[in-house]
Amino acid sequence: MTIAFAATLLILIVGWAGSALGLQYLLGVILPLVAGAVFIIGFIWKIICWAKSPVPFAIPTVAGQQRSLDWIKPNRLECPWTTPAVVGRMILEVFAFRSLFRNTRAELTTIDGAPRVTYFSNKWLWVFALLFHYSMLVIIIRHARFFLDPVPCCIAVIEFVDGVFQMGAPRFYLTDAFILAGLGFLLLRRVCSVRLRYISLPADWFALFLLIAIAGSGICMRYVSKVDINLAKDVIMGMATFSPVDPSGLGAMFFIHVTLVSALLIYFPFSKLMHMGGVFMSPTRNMKCNTREERHVNPWNKPAHFHTYAEYEDDYREAMIEAGLPVDKMPEAKTEA
């Protein structure tokens, strides 16, 4: 945890120190461009790397009644047997975190001196995971206003809804609070739960600290140490159109934020954050549960080497005949002496 915290802090300091030392152009233009390239190429590279291995077997995890007899109601989404149904299952998985919604908590207790285990529905992880991911999505969409001119009206609508609880200026965005709440919960459970603390790797803490720092610096820039929004947009538009604008007029917080985001983009393809792509490629979720109806082909299927019936009969022919079992080949009649 300490190392992950230190690493995040270091990135933050690089952003701050860089802007103070006059490296604005490097941090505000070159670094994000490089990071963007690493992210896009890395992401595609990882997906290709996964896709290069075949899916030899159809191994969906079935989570509901199969389709068998006409009068038994099958569960189309939990045991999908058509492609549209699989798409439905995937939509539920990707957009509603279906599997996480199932989460339960097992509690070991003692009742009348005997060990007992009880299960409780446990949806907190689901709630806060959704909160975080959707806030993140909305925030990314909102940021599109810096990359597009004129700003499409759908972004304006999202901004309006997100900022519906306007309390003075600048408009207060709900997602700013939600993303911190989501990340805060994810961090807190990792700290408080013995199990999670035990399984957590530096990478798990790092991802959380980095995202918290990004959200924090962004919020700071908006509400506390304000930056020149118009100049920021010019800089970003310049970057996006490969005709860079000098960013040196922007405040330190901008460079901190951009450095952190760049670090995230570079880190992303090499980390567990690739679950964003992986969730689409999991064979236990994205395959049809009609494995007896339609043959799935394994590209590396080898010819079967097995003990054939003829070999088996050779082993047991006499015993089989004696037991009255039919055989394919009668023993050769012993040549008369």
């Binding site: 190392i3 996964w50 009068w71 339960t104 097992a106 992880l125 995971a129 530096p202 009609n290 043959r295």
Partner: protein, 544 residues
């Protein structure tokens, strides 16, 4: 077997807290009872595992081949090239911990390495070191660790402490399937010559004799004759099932546990009685005499090898389709792997049609293999069976969904429909412990070996706990299931945790209730115990 502590003491002896040091620094514990006996060298050699050698789990030195690191590296590389699932599962776990308390072994042991996430990390950490840039550069900081011989030992302990039940994969937001990882690690261990006797011996027997228990053709016939004698005692009807006969419509294949061991034999008697009653045109086979597939627990190639016999035999006998008995992992293989492994089916096979009701089993169009509960449920729905559920009236039963039919198939309602038609008293166990969320018996995936009884009882605790609840609350005294490993593993488990509950297959209960044409009034169930509600004697009613 070591002497077992009393039920109340077993879990009380479970460590309450996790170790102080991190999981990479704890070493596996090889006390007697914590590991399975190793596979015999000649058996592994015979199955083509080149690096088979003599070794013992509790020895310090496992006498691994000199180039063991290279062998493992190649083995993992090969698995990554062949399975997209493994690559994705290695890369995209976020360690959210949703899987942690879903594992029956974790609930029963509180051993952190039994949390599915950490079980997978045991492999993932090695994968990161050898196959990812971050792992190579940053080492432990990136969650990577260098392979050493202790890690091999750790794998042996913990990947033989997973029953491949896939309960965790249901709850994982990315569908990470520990069963997939477990099979692959077991395969890697076999490449080093490390396997367990209980599994590999069964594989070897199955390969040679056609079934896991090594029952030879003449003995098999004899056993079934004894069972037919019992059926005659109970019903007055003599059944002489056809064996290895060509030209029958159906081949019936069931796990060998069903004709070998109590209480599976009662289920087998149930099949025979049902087939006789409906006049099914079928044959049994001594060659394809195993529905189960112990190979599937350790290697895709071995699984395919054992499974190949089913189609081979159906082809030789000229049967149109295969009817499969009550078994768990057998149906994982049949439902999700068989067509891929050994299909397309022989030319003479056809999409299964019930000869009694005319129902077409379209859901089995590719494999041409029907589950017996689908078949029987269809018979009952069409009123083809004369049932007297009162015969099962002393039973208050619950239903244990076996892991594989539930989570690899979705076979949930068919057995329940049958059960409700043959038993008047049926109570479900609490939610979160049934249907797709069902708990394993704790002995699946070839872990029903006697030497690890402590582990099995702990792993079976969540299942037993749910059973205990309905036993105390509703007087449940019976638990039905459709898995041969369950029928072997649950009775000792239930005797230990919830004495007073009987475990049986479904078709035992069906046959109890089945009124057969020309039978004598039943006074006994299939176990030859007196019925509380014996059939009225027709002679008595004539007098009255």
């Amino acid at each position: 077997m070591a002497k077992m502590p009393k039920p109340d003491e077993l879990l009380a002896a479970t460590p309450a807290a996790f170790p102080k040091e991190g999981w990479m620094d704890t070493k596996p514990d090889f006390r007697p009872g914590s590991f399975c006996y190793p596979a015999k060298t000649e058996i592994l050699k015979g199955l083509g595992f080149e690096n088979a050698h003599d070794w013992a789990p509790d020895n310090e030195d496992w006498e691994l081949p000199a180039n063991w690191e290279q062998i493992l590296y190649n083995s993992l590389q090969d698995a990554l090239n062949k399975h997209r699932s493994l690559k994705v599962f290695m890369d995209c776990c976020v360690r959210c911990g949703a899987c942690a308390d879903k594992c029956h072994f974790f609930i029963g042991t509180n051993d952190p390495k039994n949390m599915p996430v950490l079980r997978a990390e045991l492999l993932r950490s090695v994968y990161r070191k050898d196959f990812t840039t971050a792992g190579k550069l940053l080492g432990k900081l990136a969650g990577a660790r260098k392979l050493d011989k202790d890690i091999i030992k750790e794998w042996f302990i913990y990947f033989y402490q997973c029953t491949e039940c896939r309960r965790c994969s249901l709850f994982c937001p990315y569908g990470i399937d520990t069963a997939e990882i477990t099979v692959i690690v077991r395969q890697m261990l076999l490449d080093l010559g490390l396997g367990i006797h209980w599994i590999m011996n069964s594989v070897n027997d199955c390969n040679r004799t056609g079934n896991h228990l090594g029952v030879q053709p003449h003995s098999m016939r004899e056993i079934v004759e004894f069972l037919s004698d019992d059926i005659e005692t109970i019903t007055g009807i003599r059944i002489d099932p056809p064996w290895n006969e060509k030209g029958h419509e159906v081949v019936f294949i069931t796990p060998s546990g069903d004709y070998f061991a109590d209480p599976g034999i009662y289920t087998f008697m149930g099949y025979l009685m049902l087939f006789h009653e409906i006049g099914l045109d079928y044959t049994l086979s001594t060659y394809a005499s195993e529905g189960g597939n112990f190979g599937s627990f350790v290697s895709f190639d071995v699984a395919k090898k054992l499974n190949a016999k089913m189609y081979h035999e159906a082809d030789r006998l000229g049967s149109k389709w295969i009817l499969g008995g009550e078994c768990g992992h057998m149906w994982r293989v049949v439902n999700q792997y068989m067509a891929t492994y050994n299909g397309p089916t022989p030319a003479k096979m056809e999409t299964p049609v019930s000869p009694i009701t005319g129902t077409v089993f379209k859901n089995a169009a590719a494999t041409k293999m029907v589950h017996i509960t689908e078949f029987t449920a269809d018979l009952i729905k069409h009123n083809k069976l004369n049932l007297r559920p009162e015969r099962n009236d002393e039973i208050i039963t619950t239903w244990h969904d076996s892991c594989n039919p539930a989570r690899a198939m979705g076979l949930l309602e068919e057995p329940r429909y049958i059960l409700k038609n043959v038993c008047n008293n049926f109570v479900e166990m609490p939610e979160h412990t049934i249907r797709e969320e069902t708990f394993c018996c704790g002995s699946g995936s070839g872990l029903n070996a006697e030497e690890i009884m402590d582990q099995r009882l702990r792993g079976g605790f969540p299942r037993a706990n749910a059973l205990r609840y309905v036993h105390d609350k509703h007087g449940v005294n019976w638990m039905g299931c459709i898995c041969a490993l369950d029928r072997a593993a649950l009775p000792p488990l239930v005797d230990y945790w919830v004495p007073g509950v009987t475990v049986s297959g479904l078709h035992e209960l069906v046959a109890n209730a089945l009124v057969m044409k020309g039978e004598i009034p039943r006074t006994m169930n299939l176990r030859q115990e007196d019925l509380a509600n014996p059939d009225p004697d027709p002679a008595d009613s004539e007098e009255a």
